[in-house]
């Protein structure tokens, strides 16, 4: 979240101090990478997401734009938008999971394989949410941000975030249930 150091770094980055930009990159690229991998499931794509996020940040600074504060929220917004574009062009398949996979966790395929399948299923389901619903779910339940931070990332009031979370969870449940049951009902 926002700290005095973040604000100071931003001011120096606005002046195009290479050191400040390097510190910003070192501070935020690991977390952004993890965020991207969690949603995209591919390391190469995640690296591309990080590169594009910081490239757009630089472009904004060069044009005299960019954030004045809350750098983390700003960078996550850029990454989120890039990932949304990826989903639009390459939406992950929502393949029904075989319910029998959970019957005997000791049987083949292994637990790790099951969990990987579930991760893919989760990513596919998340891709079917609206961009805002997806961002609030991931930031809240995967990245474990507080509501104030999520509100800054989405540029929405905190109260709106709670309502959005509720709708997003309901939508996600319906999508996952339809995937497990193989039905066509995936309304949001």
């Amino acid at each position: 979240m926002e700290t005095v150091t973040d604000r100071e770094l931003l001011q120096r980055a606005q002046n195009h101090e290479l050191q400040a930009l390097a510190e910003i990159y070192d501070r935020w690229s690991p977390a952004l990478y993890r965020y991207a991998v969690r949603l995209l499931g591919e390391a190469d794509l995640a690296e591309e997401c990080v590169a594009e996020t910081f490239s757009r940040f630089l472009a904004a600074l060069k044009q005299g734009r960019g954030p004045r504060d809350y750098l983390q929220a700003y960078l996550y917004r850029i990454a989120h938008n890039w990932i949304t574009d990826q989903y639009r062009s390459h939406a992950p398949l929502l393949v029904p999971l075989d319910p029998g996979l959970h019957a005997d966790p000791e049987a083949e395929p292994s637990r790790q394989a099951i969990e990987e399948l579930e991760r893919r299923q989760l990513r596919a389901a998340l891709s079917r949410l609206t961009p805002e619903q997806r961002q609030v779910i991931v930031l809240k339940y995967v990245e474990e941000w507080d509501n104030e931070g999520i509100a800054r990332a989405l540029n929405r009031p905190v109260g709106a975030i709670k309502a959005l979370q509720h709708r997003a969870l309901e939508s996600l449940r319906r999508i996952l249930i339809s995937a497990w049951t193989g039905s066509e009902d995936e309304t949001n």
């Binding site: 101090e17 290479l18 501070r27 690229s29 993890r34 060069k62 990513r123």
Partner: protein, 304 residues
């Protein structure tokens, strides 16, 4: 929604990809800074040098005049210095780039400012080495020497600070060193027959360890730095003088000047002439990095 926790586990990031991404970003940042309109870079009372809180002292004005002459010599006005910031070793404007770095260091008003610059310049060296490697060009020894000199300089500057300032500086130095290690690891990977790069990587590992020592034992850190660099005051261009912030730093021989180390000991090469040059071999002062005839290139035995 407990199942969402499944998404939290992420495999370790590929350090090579991470380092390449970092180097690419810094190269973009440097190019973006160099390409900014000169008018946008100027602030009242400042020169064409990159933005930095400098005071218009008589020394600064004299040096600015010298730089102006040099910039005009290199067939450009102030924009030559800005354009030089993106140059690589061996290119025509690269000496202007290193000269402007030396001037900035000489004019920096405080040790934390000098440390900031030194860390910046270390990153620049890595960007240059990465750029050379990407272009299939060998990496000159002089660039590696200068980089190691900047590492030395950073330690000495930190050692000369008071405990609170040193703690903050070492924290910054540590983070920067970690990033630099990642980038250097990629360079070593792509240049397996370049012992200089492997040495530089080992040097970075030492740097990281020394910085960690400083965080827990400031006095022990100072002693170690003084053992590593006996009598060096960590400030370029000051010859025998001890700069502000480094008073009282003990040294057995008080030798803080000279044209570099004659015995090849780690020494960032204070030449007493306003320059900060890394010299690991005798006669390093004034050597033009990247000049093919003058350098033993680290990649000469490389398979590429």
């Amino acid at each position: 929604m407990d199942r969402l926790e499944l998404l939290r586990g992420v495999p370790a990031r590929d350090p090579q990809a991470a380092a390449a991404g970092r180097a690419h970003f810094l190269a973009q940042a440097e190019a973006a800074g160099a390409l900014r309109p000169v008018r946008a870079q100027r602030r009242p009372g400042r020169s064409f040098l990159p933005a930095f809180p400098l005071r218009a002292t008589p020394a600064f004005k004299a040096l600015a005049a010298v730089l102006l002459v040099l910039a005009l010599f290199f067939a450009g006005a102030a924009s030559s210095v800005a354009a030089a910031q993106g140059s690589l070793p061996g290119e025509a404007l690269y000496p202007l780039k290193t000269l402007s770095e030396d001037v900035l260091l000489s004019l920096a008003p405080s040790s934390p400012d000098r440390l900031s610059l030194t860390l910046d310049f270390g990153d620049r060296r890595l960007v240059e080495m990465t750029g050379l490697q990407s272009a299939g060009r060998p990496i000159p020894q002089g660039v590696v020497d200068r980089f190691e000199g900047e590492l030395d300089q950073a330690l000495q500057l930190a050692a000369g600070m008071s405990d609170p300032g040193m703690a903050q500086s070492l924290d910054r130095l540590s983070r920067r060193t970690q990033g630099q290690m990642q980038a250097m690891a990629v360079l070593v990977e792509h240049n397996p027959d370049a012992p200089l790069l492997a040495d530089a990587y080992a040097r970075l590992q030492e740097q990281a360890g020394t910085a960690e020592l400083g965080k827990s034992d400031p006095q022990g850190f100072r002693l170690k730095v003084n053992q590593l660099f006996p009598g060096k005051n960590g400030t370029p261009g000051n010859g025998n003088k001890t700069p502000p912030g480094l008073e009282g730093t003990p040294g057995p021989n008080g030798n803080g000047s000279g044209g570099g180390s004659a015995q090849g000991t780690p020494d960032h090469g204070q030449d007493g002439k306003g320059g900060h040059k890394a010299t690991k071999t005798p006669g390093g002062h004034g050597r033009a990095y990247g000049t093919p005839a003058a350098t033993r290139e680290s990649g000469e035995d490389s398979h590429h």
